[in-house]
């Protein structure tokens, strides 16, 4: 590895602002803003399809195959999954939106699961 342009040492995070709102709110708020945009903002795919992709529930073939893999085993997605969805009449822009909703939805569930486990563990510590 070349040494040019290397930082002098590992870069610390910025100092936490003392009077600002807690920073976890900013991180979580930024993720909520992304979720809100892809689910409720203007899009080529219907809000109903986007909501179902996000929650990975209530989808019918061939979308359920493609979007279920995005949520649970994305490395198994194939060209054929996209071809089947295109053949059913979905445009590339619709499919991109639905793939994004499926990915963000699964990550949001993991985020919530982690935060719930933290709240429980921290509550037990306090008690």
């Amino acid at each position: 590895m070349s040494t040019e342009d290397m930082p002098a040492k590992d870069v610390p995070g910025e100092d936490r602002p003392t009077e600002d709102k807690p920073t976890e709110d900013k991180k979580r708020a930024a993720y909520r803003a992304l979720q809100d945009r892809i689910l409720n903002g203007e899009g080529r795919a219907s809000p109903q399809h986007r909501a179902r992709a996000f929650s990975n529930a209530g989808l019918s073939p061939p979308l359920d195959g493609l979007l279920g893999k995005v949520a649970t085993r994305p490395t198994l997605v194939t060209d054929a999954d996209f071809a089947a969805a295109r053949a059913a009449g979905f445009s590339e822009d619709e499919l991109l939106e639905l793939v994004i909703c499926a990915a963000v939805g699964q990550a949001a569930r993991l985020y919530d699961t982690g935060l719930a486990a933290l709240a429980e563990a921290a509550g037990q510590e306090d008690g």
């Binding site: 590895m1 793939v99 563990a121």
Partner: protein, 193 residues
């Protein structure tokens, strides 16, 4: 990439920008960048804000620690593009390649501090199994990690569980080691915005 709009669906300004990046960096435009430049109002703008906040915003975790978490989560998802990109960035941030390689191949014996190790273990379990209990989290807290640090690590985890899925579903092309190094330099200089 599996969607042709992500290869060709850009306006003249973005096409010119991509050409300039190729010309001046002498590296290809990574598919991760193409994704966030396509209809940025739908996904890219807010995704960049969130990822930048998680990876470069205020946190007691260093940039190297967070890049290692990104690589570790991506490895749990078997996401080759993201493992390549973020292990290169973690190596460069820490200036320590063996440390990153050890954490990714044999976490338990890796020469990293107990708190970071417990956090990586927790993020790996959450990512692989989709489940996590209070007991898993107590182990992290008892290794000396603050609640705020756990929350910050979960934000990194959310960012890369999103990006890993998009990389693999959309078929991001895995870059050469030289191109990943160039990307790592860029991410340390400019971040994700």
């Amino acid at each position: 990439m599996r969607l042709e709009v992500l290869n060709r669906g850009y306006g003249p300004g973005t096409k010119l920008l991509f050409a300039l990046i190729r010309l001046f960096s002498r590296h290809p435009v990574p598919d991760a960048a193409k994704l966030v430049f396509y209809r940025p109002d739908f996904y890219g703008s807010r995704a960049k804000e969130f990822t930048h906040e998680a990876m470069r915003g205020p946190s007691a975790w260093s940039v190297g620690d967070r890049e290692l978490m990104a690589a570790y989560v991506s490895q749990a998802n078997e996401s080759a593009f993201c493992v390549g990109a973020h292990s290169a960035t973690a190596r460069r941030a820490y200036q320590d390649g063996p440390k990153v390689a050890a954490a990714l191949t044999e976490l338990e014996s890796a020469p990293i501090e107990a708190g970071l190790k417990a956090t990586l273990r927790m993020l790996g379990k959450l990512t692989r199994e989709g489940k996590l209990g209070a007991g898993d989290m107590r182990q992290v807290l008892s290794a000396g990690v603050s609640r705020q640090q756990v929350e910050d690590a979960l934000a990194v985890c959310a960012a890369f569980n999103t990006t890993d899925r998009l990389a693999d579903a959309l078929g991001f092309q895995v870059l050469s080691p030289e191109d990943f190094e160039a990307g790592a330099k860029y991410l340390l200089r400019r971040g994700y915005r």
